[in-house]
């Protein structure tokens, strides 16, 4: 029993403790798609790179001795993540970060932004992995990290190519002074990051909907922000009381439950109640029906 527990602990550690490099998670979930189906999601990260070249990076995995026995598990994992819209958006944002031209002075900041984005992608994937997937990480960690290194090198070289030398920057400013496009022209470099950050604003796509239960461990900032943004009604179970009606709001720039009357640490889970939008629609419908019935009763009289 103890051995089983320690095995499970090891597996969880494999997922969370960084057995893989951050880019490795993208390699893990896309390996089978690239190798077997020839349509990996990672292509959105490298739209200008030849598909055959991308496959070349991944070939190291298929040449591994353990690939045959784990092929089906890799395919199952790949199919879960294939065509995942949220992941595709993250990959596209990463592509934009590395390929949008930038002046030399901003290179360091851009590198940091890219690293942040890679970490974000890794976290997104990691949260969606199971113990079974951790076994795959254990088996393929080395080879996957190897592939991840090739991808990191490609990102580096694309970023280097995007850096403009001071001579290149000058002639670009001249056509902007043309009178035909006076508003669109002044795209200041500093705004690029801002625009890209806007692009990765959280969508509601991957957040839970009405009727779903969210565990305490999943109540991170993004989740609370989603509850707040959508003004979602919740049923909160704490250690001492169950089914407390509540919501998330902002207080002194913090996101809190029920005006900070419920401590986040005490919460076991929250259930999302029917959304306000539905409630509003129902109320509207109720009003309309009441009107119809009222007029019919008057007519009958």
């Amino acid at each position: 029993m103890k051995k089983q527990r320690s095995n499970k602990k090891q597996l969880k550690e494999a997922i969370s403790a960084g057995a893989l490099s951050p880019l490795g998670y993208s390699v893990l979930v896309d390996a089978s798609n690239v190798l077997e189906k020839k349509r990996g999601l990672i292509r959105s990260m490298f739209p200008s790179t030849n598909t055959a070249n991308i496959k070349k990076w991944f070939l190291k995995i298929s040449l591994n001795d353990k690939y045959g026995e784990s092929k089906e598990k890799l395919m199952a994992l790949g199919s879960r993540f294939s065509d995942m819209a949220a992941l595709k958006v993250l990959y596209k944002s990463l592509n934009a970060l590395k390929s949008t031209p930038l002046p030399e002075a901003e290179k360091e900041q851009r590198e940091k932004d890219i690293q942040k984005m890679i970490d974000k992608i890794a976290l997104f994937i990691r949260k969606r992995l199971t113990d079974d997937d951790a076994e795959l990480i254990e088996k393929f960690a080395n080879v996957i990290n190897n592939v991840a290194n090739s991808i990191a090198a490609e990102i580096d070289s694309e970023l280097k190519a995007s850096v403009q030398s001071p001579e290149e920057e000058k002639p670009k400013e001249e056509p902007k002074k043309e009178p035909t496009k006076p508003i669109e022209a002044p795209k200041v470099e500093g705004k690029v990051n801002e625009r890209l950050k806007n692009k990765i604003q959280p969508t509601n796509e991957n957040f839970p909907g009405p009727g779903e239960i969210v565990d305490a461990k999943d109540l991170d900032y993004d989740m609370l922000d989603y509850f707040n943004r959508m003004n979602i009604k919740l049923s909160i179970d704490t250690k001492t009381k169950k089914g407390i009606r509540g919501s998330v709001g902002k207080m002194y720039n913090d996101l809190v439950f029920n005006g900070d009357t419920i401590n986040k640490k005490d919460i076991l889970q929250v259930k999302i109640l029917e959304s306000n939008v539905n409630e509003r629609l129902k109320n509207k419908l109720r009003k309309k029906i009441k009107e119809i019935i009222r007029t019919h009763i008057i007519k009958l009289k």
Partner: protein, 105 residues
Amino acid sequence: MKRNKLIEVITNRVIKRLLEISSIDEGSGFDTIFNELKKKLENIQILPDNVISVEGYKEHQVVDALKEMGYIYRKPIGTKLHFFNKKTSISLYLVQNQNKITLLP
């Protein structure tokens, strides 16, 4: 006063009926989901307690079928892979290594 109460009762009944009809239209019933999945995976079976057995199919085949039906993959709960359909607000859990799908309306 009596008239207002009558309006309230009739309104509630109409809304209740409307909701019943709309839930059928959305295809949230167990049979609807089972039949839809059966079109993609022929040899599936119904087990007690809203469980569908997908034995004989590989995990990636089942996942692909669910995705085609409009279910998106969400964070798993243990070994249960969570798939959620936004249109119908239905959650399906595919238990890894057991080839079972549990329906959670």
